[in-house]
């Protein structure tokens, strides 16, 4: 019994302060990403959600260059990027794809410039890798309060607009007819998305940011009929994947003889990916017996996008 326990939780897992910080920040970010992500997946804005991660990373590189706080860089440029995407046409489907692409391309160009200047001016090592991959263990404990505060802002904004947002997502026409300011609600949602993604790419890196924003919500929406239940399931799945991923990465140091840990992001993404595939299997069985659970909203969104 004890041996099995030790095999699952390698020595020192629960007493490592690094693990504590990673688990706290990772869990929190997974939670916020899951809630935001349910709307992102329903609205078909996965590309926007991913692109904002790269935009924030460009902000992070800029902040690194001029010596600003990375939080300002990540969240600040993310918000600017979300605003520009909304301005040049996030609403129409075709235009949205293009607008996101243009903003993303510009941000990548800026990243190239900032990193070029950073690496030529000072011998900062790991800047490129940090911007591309990030690391859950690189988060200084001091940033936890800021992460918590901004998470509350993002979740609060979503909570305030959740009902009109949901209506505007499923059917913009009905929402407009009922007096919902569809444009305004969409912009508020983009801001919440920018904060959430900026935060997650700062705290856990760009890969995990997208993985946790899209994976758990997409899996949850496949099995849950109601949006509220999908949000709950996505939160559970996201937090579980993050924590199990941290545990496996910690344990991986003891696997084999090389004593080289594999990155947390690898394990978390693998769990999310497999989980998503697995819900596809159960979804297929359910769909055979009754109507597909997520077909109705998905079809509705598809129609609206075509009409728009």
């Amino acid at each position: 019994m004890h041996a099995i326990y030790n095999a699952i939780f390698e020595p020192g897992f629960f007493s490592s302060s690094q693990v504590h910080v990673a688990a706290t920040i990772g869990g929190l970010v997974a939670l916020v990403s899951a809630v935001t992500g349910v709307f992102t997946v329903m609205r078909g804005q996965s590309f926007g959600g991913h692109a904002l991660g790269d935009v924030s990373a460009a902000g992070g590189a800029g902040a690194l260059l001029v010596g600003l706080s990375p939080v300002i860089g990540f969240v600040g440029l993310g918000i600017v990027g979300a605003g520009v995407m909304d301005m040049i046409g996030v609403r129409r489907l075709r235009g949205r794809d293009l607008a996101t692409g243009i903003v993303l391309g510009t941000a990548i160009g800026l990243s190239a410039l900032f990193l070029h200047l950073t690496t030529t001016r000072s011998a900062t090592t790991g800047a490129v890798q940090q911007v591309l991959f990030g690391s859950i263990y690189a988060t200084p404990p001091g940033t936890i309060p800021i992460v918590v505060a901004l998470s509350v802002v993002a979740l609060g904004a979503l909570a305030v607009v959740s009902r009109p947002l949901l209506l505007a997502t499923v059917s913009p026409d009905i929402a407009a007819a009922r007096g919902v300011a569809v444009r305004m609600v969409g912009l508020l949602y983009m801001l919440a998305l920018a904060i959430s993604v900026g935060l997650s790419s700062l705290a856990i890196g760009a890969i995990l940011s997208t993985a946790l924003l899209i994976g758990p919500p997409a899996a949850a929406l496949r099995v849950a009929k109601r949006t509220s239940r999908a949000i709950g399931l996505a939160c559970l799945f996201g937090v579980a994947a993050t924590w199990i991923g941290i545990l496996l990465a910690y344990d991986s140091y003891y696997w084999g003889t090389a004593h080289q840990a594999l990155p947390v992001s690898f394990f978390v993404v693998a769990i999310v990916f497999v989980g998503y595939l697995a819900t596809g299997l159960t979804g297929a069985r359910t769909a055979g017996r009754t109507a597909a659970p997520t077909a109705a909203p998905a079809a509705a969104i598809g129609r609206d996008e075509m009409a728009a």
Binding site: F47, D97, G101, I108, G109, A112, T119, L262, F266
Partner: protein
């Protein structure tokens, strides 16, 4: 700037890249496939890391992962929405890349150049494979031109005429993958994306005729990369930044042009 040998390589490869980027990008914009066009090159980056780990050619690693990405997106798209499928395929590839990188000692500068490009460092033996891949891409698009165009613009008509949307989509993703494998060593994983979006988008806001738009797209892409190389050579600016900025600028000018024509009463051309 033109006499030095290594600069000659840069001009030649950049020209090939711009032509392929402009042509493939036309369909990327037409099909609204900006996300796959971003995901395949970015995910293929992991293949380069894997190749370094196994000690094989970077080009093979890139090609294998680019194709994996194309097949991954196409097969996941069958049972879920394309944007979700693309996002999950991308993060899975990047996660593998992170795992590979944790097992190798890659130099920072090597990673930077794979991401953002090192067009000034193109060696003579890289020119031929680039030209070869480029020729295959252009040939594939030429052969599949009509069904590709039809399924992009009027999917219903294409389906009625017997064009299988799913196969065309897979073919298109494979073309993007080939373009990726060829361009990543030259302009970097992230910048080929700018080249496939900005110039074609600008071209499409000027004209709705497909062939003309494609020619214009190639022309803008050529000006973009040539200017970027000149700036890199003369002022030591990163090529990536110049390509990104000029792509966005050309799109902005294209949009401005379209708005101006619209105001003067000429019907908008963007609707196609």
């Amino acid at each position: 700037m033109f006499a030095v040998g290594f600069m000659m390589n840069a001009w030649i490869t950049a020209t090939i890249v711009a032509v392929v980027g402009g042509v493939v990008g036309f369909f990327v914009v037409l099909r609204g496939a900006a996300f796959p066009a971003h995901a395949i090159p970015k995910g293929a980056f992991a293949g380069a890391a894997g190749a370094a780990l196994l000690g094989i050619s970077t080009l093979i690693g890139l090609a294998v992962f680019a194709l994996l990405g194309a097949f991954g997106i196409a097969s996941l798209s069958r049972r879920s929405r394309t944007d979700v499928a693309t996002a999950l395929t991308l993060v899975m590839m990047l996660a593998l890349g992170a795992a590979f990188l944790s097992r190798t000692i890659e130099y920072e500068s090597a990673i930077y150049s794979l991401l953002f490009g090192e067009v000034l460092g193109v060696s003579t033996n890289q020119v031929l494979p680039t030209a070869l891949f480029g020729a295959v891409c252009i040939a594939a698009i030429t052969v599949a031109y009509r069904p590709l165009l039809l399924s992009s613009v009027v999917p219903e008509v294409a389906e009625a005429k017997g064009v299988r949307a799913r196969w065309i989509e897979l073919l298109f993703l494979i073309i993007v993958a080939l373009a990726t494998a060829m361009t990543v060593p030259v302009v970097g994983a992230l910048l080929i994306f700018s080249l496939m979006i900005g110039p074609p988008a600008a071209a499409r806001s000027v004209t709705s005729r497909p062939l003309l738009a494609m020619v214009l797209s190639v022309a803008i892409a050529l000006v973009t990369v040539w200017a970027a190389i000149a700036a890199a050579y003369l002022y030591n600016w990163p090529v990536g930044f110049c390509v990104g900025a000029l792509s966005a600028l050309s799109y902005g000018i294209g949009r401005g042009w379209a708005t101006w024509r619209h105001r003067r009463g000429v019907p908008a051309l963007e609707a196609a």
